[in-house]
């Protein structure tokens, strides 16, 4: 597979360099919202959605910034665009699909401070992807985030019934599981090569 093909970009962000387990992006929601599979799934959906929107916005912004040689304003404008696009998405969903809003509701504001979103925008700029490559990258990253979240939630649901030593805090245990997951995701390296 060519390194700039859409399939590879998707696969790379989805499995090989999973945003959460290999790049450590979006850890706060990963540890915070992964107690139940159902919430994990909703959070994942919200992230995929916001990633697609903000990836497109960031692509547009970057073209403008490069045209006027204002690259040094990139970070400030990206963060502003992401924050406002999350707001827009929230309003849009609230207006047109109240039921979806109820499921995604509380997760949307959380996403603004999710470094995976800003990371996505920065990485796609660094690697100078074109528009469709950006979409593949955003889709892969979102799917990878969702996959990691759901795997984690499944494991944690099982662990609720397990007996663990009382010095082991919830956070340490979650990190341990995340480490094991990350170890197993390393097996995807070299996939499709």
């Amino acid at each position: 597979m060519q390194p700039d093909s859409h399939a590879f970009i998707f696969l790379n962000a989805f499995l090989i360099n999973n945003f959460v387990l290999a790049m450590f992006l979006g850890l706060c929601p990963f540890l915070g919202v992964s107690a139940k599979i159902s919430t994990a799934w909703n959070m994942g959906l919200a992230v995929v959605f916001v990633m697609l929107v903000s990836s497109m916005c960031a692509f547009g912004i970057n073209i403008v910034l490069v045209k006027y040689e204002l690259e040094f304003l990139r970070l400030i404008s990206y963060i502003a665009v992401i924050a406002s696009s999350v707001q827009l998405v929230e309003m849009f969903v609230k207006k047109f699909s109240p039921s979806l809003f109820r499921t995604l509701g509380i997760f949307l504001p959380l996403i603004t401070t999710n470094c995976a979103i800003l990371g996505l925008a920065l990485f796609q700029t660094n690697r100078s992807y074109n528009f469709t490559q950006c979409l593949a990258f955003a889709l892969g990253a979102g799917a990878g985030f969702t996959l990691a979240l759901i795997l984690m939630a499944g494991l944690r649901e099982k662990l609720e019934l397990a007996k663990i030593p009382d010095t082991v805090t919830q956070a340490a245990l979650s990190l341990m599981i995340a480490g094991l997951l990350s170890l197993s995701f390393m097996g995807f390296a070299g996939l499709g090569g």
Binding site: L21, A22, M23, F24, L25, G26, L27, C28, L31, F72, L73, L75, I76, I79, A80, A83, T113, N114, C115, L118, G119, L122, F123, N126, D166, T167, V168, T169, A171, A172, L173, L175, M176, A178, G179, L180, S182, L183, M186
Partner: protein, 218 residues
């Protein structure tokens, strides 16, 4: 010092030490974990990242505190984010000017300091309510706490993962590096072990105090 009408926290040693031990952003509050795990594969990177974060913390803390009476409450978060993003961009360019290799090692994580919840949290919870000096001291304490936490991980991961410390060879040529520590899973494992250790120490201490109290009662 004249009393501030909004009853700010008193400037004391506590202001400084709070961030280092009792409210350590990484080990106690579990904030800003992304860079903690991502760039701590060597002690040098960890130190650089810690210092960069501290710089942003200090500058944004001071500026937010200076402007605390100017910024309207309704748009405060937006203002804080703009201020933080400004200083992050400055840090980014400064690091590029100092060492390109370091910039390459830290990669996009310098720019991702923007979304580090520690900084926004400090701006919102402390700097917006307190005087410049105490905001500075508090941010300094938090920055030290964050840097120490990063170093804790960086040192362990570099020693085991590469057999070096700050680039100096420790074990000689026969050492077989324990590569997993330098790889992503190692980051999760090492942080988990530090958390185990801290909760163990805390549990021991709590147990010791209850024992002491029982003795007093007897």
């Amino acid at each position: 010092m004249p009393a501030d009408p909004r009853a700010p926290a008193k400037l004391s040693l506590e202001t400084l030490t709070q961030g280092i031990w009792k409210e350590n952003p990484v080990f106690v509050m579990l904030l800003g974990l992304c860079p903690v795990l991502a760039v701590t594969n060597t002690a040098t990177n960890a130190l650089a990242m810690g210092l960069a974060t501290m710089f942003v913390l200090l500058c944004s803390g001071v500026l937010v505190s200076l402007l605390r009476n100017v910024i309207p409450k309704q748009v405060r978060i937006a203002c804080y984010i703009i201020i933080i993003a400004t200083f992050v961009t400055i840090t980014d360019y400064a690091i590029m000017a100092i060492s390109l290799d370091l910039h390459k090692a830290l990669g996009a994580f310098i720019q991702l300091i923007v979304v580090n919840c520690v900084i926004l949290g400090r701006a919102e919870a402390y700097a917006s309510k307190n005087k410049v000096v105490s905001s500075f001291v508090n941010a300094f304490g938090m920055g030290i706490g964050f840097t120490v936490a990063l170093l804790c991980l960086g040192v362990v991961r570099e020693v085991f993962g590469f057999g070096t410390l700050f680039g100096m060879d420790l074990f000689g040529p026969n050492f077989q590096p324990w590569a997993v520590f330098a790889l992503p899973p190692g980051g999760f494992f090492v942080l988990a072990f530090w958390l185990f250790l801290f909760s163990y120490v805390r549990k021991r201490r709590a147990a010791a105090t209850t024992l002491e109290e029982k003795k007093h009662a007897a």
